[in-house]
Homo-oligomer: 203 residues x 2
DNA sequence: GTCGGTATCTGAACAATGCTCAGATTATGT
DNA sequence: ACATAATCTGAGCATTGTTCAGATACCGAC
């Protein structure tokens, strides 16, 4: 551990990149304690900086947590991309597995990061999403998957226009209800079966 | 305004029914400012009582808000019952209108009482619902409605076992996503159409 | 009735929190 | 080299959740 290296990371008075350091520490604390139980002072202290330093990078607490929420949104999209990438190929089986992975990874992320999930779908992040027109990455994953499924005859034409809404709302609702303890985790497979059946159309 | 009447309401030192007074005032403030921005002190002050008096009826803030959440749950069930009761009768049209009213009143309540809705589906009320096995009233409304729809041939037998899950999760998810500004209110009719179609089975 | 116990409420206090601001310290551009 | 801007500190203010000793009112037993 060289002295210069330490200097680059922490030049003493001026912290090299405080903004992102605060963000990642805030995210860490939110994940552990929940957004309601994280304090500006603790975030600052853990970075080794004065409490008031935070306010030179974020106007207030809500703003800090809002930015954390945006990052979580990106992390979630990446998580879903990776999950779906595990089933490549153009076969029917691959497309179906990708579709299920799309939904499964959603609730899996919610469960593994309950506090972060609640944050970025909470009041602190409202409005930001509107301006950025939803998080396009995750949304596009769903659209693409449904397009593939449609091309393979797995989505009935009459249902197709509403497919994204039906899929997203049900997966999102299930994720929240499981977090609330109102539904057992086992319903995820049931719901995915139900979704596939509904989209294709029962005979 | 007689003196005795005043005494009955506020006997001075002993407030007649502080417990419920605190609950309703807390609920009022949550509805206005959101659960995060309501303080014990303000609740107590608005009732005309010392801050510490609250702690003789509720162990802490989370407990108070948790009890408020339970009440909101009951209010919501009542709201749904009233909405569905507007379409009595055994006809197909009545049953369909009742089913749609069941879903529509859910999101309507969520929108009209955003802060209260967020409270009773938030971390503060988790676990309580498990013990009371969901709020049976609202759940039974859905089950009954789906039974009616099934008897009238509006729900495919293969879908029936998953119908409650599909309906609840999608309606709940939509309610939350609308609150978050991630979906426009117009999707409610789209989703209800989609749900009816999916449950019946497309041909 | 009155008297003791109990439920209820008060007032003061403590530690923690969000946030502000004047001033100290470092970086940056000319 | 120097001025200007960016960054950080330290002290401080108002508010919050919560505790606790003590004051006040109700309630049943004698």
């Amino acid at each position: 551990m060289s002295l210069t290296a330490e200097r680059v990371e922490k030049p003493g008075y001026h912290h090299g990149d405080l903004q992102s350091a605060l963000l990642s520490e805030a995210m860490r604390l939110v994940a552990i304690n929940g957004a309601d139980h994280v304090s500006m002072r603790e975030v600052a202290a853990n970075i080794g900086v004065s409490p008031s330093a935070v306010y030179h990078h974020f106007p207030d607490k809500d703003s800090l947590l809002g930015e954390v929420g945006k990052l979580v949104f990106e992390n979630m999209a990446t998580f879903q991309e990776n999950a779906m990438a595990q089933f490549p190929g153009k076969s029917l089986m691959a497309a179906r597995k990708r579709f299920r992975a799309c939904g499964y990874s959603y609730v899996e992320f919610a469960q593994s990061n309950a506090n972060l999930f609640r944050l970025c779908f909470g009041p602190l992040c409202v409005g930001d999403h509107e301006s950025t027109k939803n998080d396009n990455r995750a949304w596009n994953l769903l659209v693409t998957s449904l397009d593939e499924m449609t091309a393979l005859g797995q989505v009935h034409p009459k249902i197709r226009p509403m497919a994204e809404i039906l899929a997203w709302t049900s997966i999102h609702g299930m994720s929240m209800l499981i977090l609330d303890g109102l539904l057992p985790v086992e319903v995820v497979d049931v719901l995915l079966d139900s979704l596939e059946l509904s989209l294709k159309g029962v005979k």
